[in-house]
């Protein structure tokens, strides 16, 4: 199935399997407010897609439209090739995991898990078998007769997933499923969830505002802002080659600057940033002198030297303004000498101690190829 809009972000079909989910030019307006504007994407069979963006970017609205909890104002949603727009949500074979888990408090774990099967008329014996299997899968077998209030946050979360996975939905939808867990549990649930998704092989759309979750778990990430889908790609594509300033700054830390192209010289281009500094980037062949653009560099690409910095790199001398100790690493904010320009540098700490102190004079250096530039 081909998209009507050629500029939509489509996954190059690696197999002849049609996408499980197709979102085609979907809009959602509430009165005068536009929540989602012309969003299109496909999700392949078994794929783990993340919708990520700040609050109010339209990611949850998009998810709720896929699930049938909201009707699109315009555009179409197809699941396994079938148009879903007017299909009531109980008739769509979708599993939604809510941020609050929404477990039925008056039912035991087993009864909660049985609910979807009962609604589908699965006979009692088969039901019991499938419930046992799925509870085994999420390692909650011995909790089958407990009530949700008797479970911890992580256990409730797993029940919420088991409750929808058990009836083998076409698509699993997750709305910030880890948001209510404490940090340590969140980290371990991230691994478990990813493993579970791979094991079950279920097509999944996951909404979050947490970039770490998205980068660590996703097959592909869709970055949304202000109702628009800005970029869709693999985690490394989105992280390393952002197509817009928003994507560059939203995912991970970055130092970014407004710049003007000063000279184009074969493979390299020199850009002048505010403060009069010249930054060298690898020219993709699309930069002309005098053009404005945004340059950015990731803190982990920036190295610090006490003396004799490498040649053929972007090298500036500066002073360490601020140091934040992060345990596994340390982040420096360096002010370039003679300017107000600051740059972030991240240092992994294999030895346990930061190599530099606050106030120290250092050289910052990074390779021109590590600089990302965005036109306009």
């Amino acid at each position: 199935m081909k998209a009507a809009n050629p500029s939509s972000f489509e996954r190059t079909p690696s197999a002849d399997v049609p996408p499980v989910l197709e979102v085609r030019g979907v809009w959602k307006t509430f009165g005068d407010a536009v929540a989602v504007e012309s969003v299109s994407f496909d999700v392949a069979d078994g794929e783990f897609l993340f919708l990520i963006g700040p609050s109010g970017c339209g990611k949850t609205t998009t998810l709720r439209m896929i699930g049938g909890y909201l009707e699109p104002t315009r555009g179409d949603i197809y699941i396994r090739g079938r148009r879903m727009n007017d299909v009531p949500l109980e008739k769509r074979n979708i599993g939604m995991v809510f941020q609050s888990y929404a477990l039925f408090p008056h039912m035991t774990v087993a009864e909660n898990v049985a609910f979807g099967l009962r609604m589908r008329g699965v006979p009692k014996r088969e039901r019991a078998e499938r419930i046992a299997n799925v509870l085994d899968l999420v390692e909650l077998s011995e909790f089958a007769d407990r009530y949700p209030v008797q479970l911890s946050g992580g256990q409730r979360q797993r029940v919420a997933i088991a409750r929808v996975v058990v009836y083998e939905p076409d698509i699993l939808l997750l709305d910030e499923p880890l948001a209510n867990l404490d940090r340590r549990l969140r980290d371990s649930m991230r691994v478990e969830l990813k493993k579970l998704q791979e094991k079950v092989g279920i097509t999944t759309v996951y909404v979050t505002h947490d970039q770490e979750e998205a980068l660590s778990m996703a097959d592909r990430i869709a970055v949304m802002e202000g109702g628009h889908l800005l970029q869709l790609g693999t985690p490394s594509e989105v992280y390393n080659s952002p197509k817009s300033p928003f994507v560059a700054t939203f995912l991970g830390n970055t130092s970014s600057y407004q710049a003007t192209v000063s000279s184009v010289d074969g493979t390299f281009t020199d850009l002048e940033i505010d403060g009069g500094l010249t930054v060298r980037v690898v020219n993709g062949g699309d930069l002309e002198p005098g053009e404005n653009c945004l340059v950015s560099v990731r803190p982990e690409r920036v190295a610090l030297f006490k003396a004799s910095p490498p040649e053929d790199q972007n090298v500036f001398r500066g002073q360490i303004d601020f140091l934040s100790y992060l345990g596994a690493g340390v982040e420096y904010i360096i002010r370039i000498d003679g300017t107000d320009v600051t740059i972030r540098a991240h240092e992994a700490l294999p030895a346990g101690q930061p190599s530099h102190r606050e106030g120290e004079s250092v050289y910052v250096a990074w390779e021109p190829g590590q600089t990302v530039y965005l036109k306009g």
Partner: protein, 279 residues
């Protein structure tokens, strides 16, 4: 090893120190005093009086010239179960009591059947309609109970609006006797109680996480099944409280059976009053 008492620097706990943790209970005291003075103590006193020997004139008079022979309805300081035996063996009293209970159950049944759907509708209504509906529900409470009952009396009278309508539509050629019947007594009692019932059930429904309903639908349940399997069972505890309020209220029915009922529809409370005014 022996436990050595810690030296508090010679500090002795004063009475105030010891009582300090209980200071919070002072907040309860105005209400408790009120309940004690105007409800519990009089009730206990009444209970005590119920064990006095009767002088035979009437079982219900209270007072009389103290210490004077024949000057009261009961003999102070005596103990007897006669009054209870009389109450429970007298057909008249028993029938009144059975009616009281039956009437309360009828009123409760009708109230619950009408209140739950209304409460559910209010719960699901959009915000503006919701406010309007809640206002409609509590509006009757702004008028005096007697005004409401007399108003109903006029409405249901033989030449009242309801009967005029009945004859206009042609259901009946002559007015149907509505007022001073069990029907009118029930209608007025339900009207008096139902705002509380509706409000309590509405409040209960609003405590439910709306995502539970969404989850149920998403799992494949129709709107009706969602109501029957999720919303309703979860609203049962609050609904039982509403039921309790309704029963208690209906048991104490007095105005409705007196003013809109007939001699057959007399509850214990309305009986008490007529006996007393007669003596």
């Amino acid at each position: 090893m022996t436990v050595v008492e810690t030296d508090l620097g010679g500090y002795q706990k004063t009475v105030v120190d010891r009582l300090a943790p209980y200071a919070k209970y002072l907040l309860l005291s105005p209400m408790i005093l009120l309940m004690l003075g105007f409800f519990v103590i009089p009730l206990l006193w009444l209970l005590r009086i119920s064990f006095y020997e009767s002088r035979g004139a009437s079982g219900f008079g209270i007072g009389g010239a103290a210490g004077q022979e024949g000057g009261g309805f009961y003999v102070e300081g005596t103990w007897t179960l006669d009054n209870y035996v009389r109450f429970f063996t007298d057909d008249y009293f028993m029938s009144v009591m059975m009616f009281t209970i039956g009437f309360a159950l009828l009123v409760t049944l009708v109230t619950m059947i009408l209140a739950y759907p209304m409460a559910y509708y209010i719960y699901r209504a959009p915000p503006k309609l919701k406010t309007a509906l809640i206002l409609i529900v509590i509006l009757p409470k702004l008028s005096n109970m007697l005004v409401l009952v007399y108003g109903l009396q006029m409405l249901l009278a033989n030449n009242g609006l309801v009967n005029e309508l009945i004859m206009l539509v042609g259901v009946s050629d002559e007015p149907i006797k509505l007022v001073y019947t069990l029907f009118s007594a029930t209608v007025s009692k339900v009207l008096l109680v139902i705002p509380y019932t509706i409000l309590v059930i509405t409040a209960t429904l609003h405590t439910l996480d709306p995502s539970l309903r969404e989850a149920s639908r998403g799992l494949g349940a129709s709107p009706f099944k969602t109501f029957w399997l999720v919303t309703f069972p979860l609203s049962v505890p609050g609904t039982l409280i509403a039921l309790l309020i309704t029963i208690v209220w209906a048991l104490g029915a007095f105005v409705s059976p007196s003013l809109l009922g007939n001699p057959e529809t007399q509850t214990l409370r309305s009986r008490f009053r007529s006996r007393r005014s007669r003596t």
